[in-house]
Symmetry: C2
Subunit: 216 residues, 2 copies
Amino acid sequence: MTQKTDTTVTGRITRTLADRIIAGEIAPGTKLRQDHFAEEFGASHVPVREAFRRLEAQGLVVSEPRRGVRVASFDIAEVREVAEMRASLEVLALRHAAPHLTSAILDTAEDINRAGENAKDVREWEDANKAFHRIILEPCNMPRLMASIDDLHAASARFLFSGFRMEWEAPTDQDHRAILRALREHQFDVAAATLARHVKWIGTKPGKNSRKLSAL
Amino acid sequence: MTQKTDTTVTGRITRTLADRIIAGEIAPGTKLRQDHFAEEFGASHVPVREAFRRLEAQGLVVSEPRRGVRVASFDIAEVREVAEMRASLEVLALRHAAPHLTSAILDTAEDINRAGENAKDVREWEDANKAFHRIILEPCNMPRLMASIDDLHAASARFLFSGFRMEWEAPTDQDHRAILRALREHQFDVAAATLARHVKWIGTKPGKNSRKLSAL
DNA sequence: ACAATAAAAATTATCTATAAAATTGGAAAT
DNA sequence: ATTTCCAATTTTATAGATAATTTTTATTGT
């Protein structure tokens, strides 16, 4: 949901909180008090509440009426669920995007992939990873689909940063290369199958924290 | 997103407006003024704004910062997009649900399907249709996936009520029967393929209004 | 000590008021 | 007649205040 929401206070709060939650700076299960963030952002609690609603829609927080919101907890099952959803939807996007992919786009994708290989930390790698997926899928011209995929990517990034999956080196970027190769040769089925396997693999490599992550 | 949100004013407004938009009572493109609904619901505009945010997340309205929200427009392309997304996600859900389906569940599904065949109007038929899909997919035990499917169903219903697809009789419910038969015989691949074809078909039967639907 | 309960504090939800921005209507200039 | 600009009006966005609900703390009875 990368829209220009930063002209408004609500948008600024939404983005900042989303970043923090995704980066793992606020632990799952943490209770989010509206007055607290109102003070932090020098705003009233109204825009904070609206930000909460948006975060809820992205699945980053869960809200219980009159009991406030807390950072969404997740477990290995949800990591797998998100991976499967991504696999399904990204394959769909790729099938529609493939006919519109130019070699210029694929060249750029290759550059992005190289940037990912040279990344210094997870954060940087994830940025490249997200950009790679986005650039080859975007030409599907299906905005609603892309919005869903973006939300799922945010969830995936959160899992990654939380230590669910530590490995972020070679294999992934090698998959990326295989996908590009297949696309250049117009082997769309191969590309789609590789993409599906690639995305699902992400959900199968639990790090050390396999238990339910939740504060308290 | 069928949660018990009606204990709060925001929840009541959200649900009412969602129903109206889905039913086509408010035309696509219509500008929604917060004061107007605040007065209608005897509330201030704050809960109305929060309701708008939720509707935005469901894709029922689009919001432009400082320019208000309007009922989301849609065209034949988006109808197809939603159909494809539903096909992908519902197949995923069915694959995970299949092992957990009991014959009791399938019996209930058959009852629901019969109710759909005897439906007096589109609305009634759509209720049965939604219930049918939900009962055979729910056992997948993937809440995030089900939430996404629910949102897509809401969009589909909107298209249906708007006259995009007029036919809602025999073939659909026959597909349903074929799916049940395959599930009873544990032919999960057949069931999945039938479901995919069934859902995609919905997006290929344009009624009379193929142009962009938008007020003004 | 423990459970149940009631008062106190904190927090969410909502309302009313204000500020900021966008839209509208009309007057002036070409 | 048409366009541009400015003021008036409407509408959105945010702030500040209040009501309602939940959570916490303290107290009483067993």
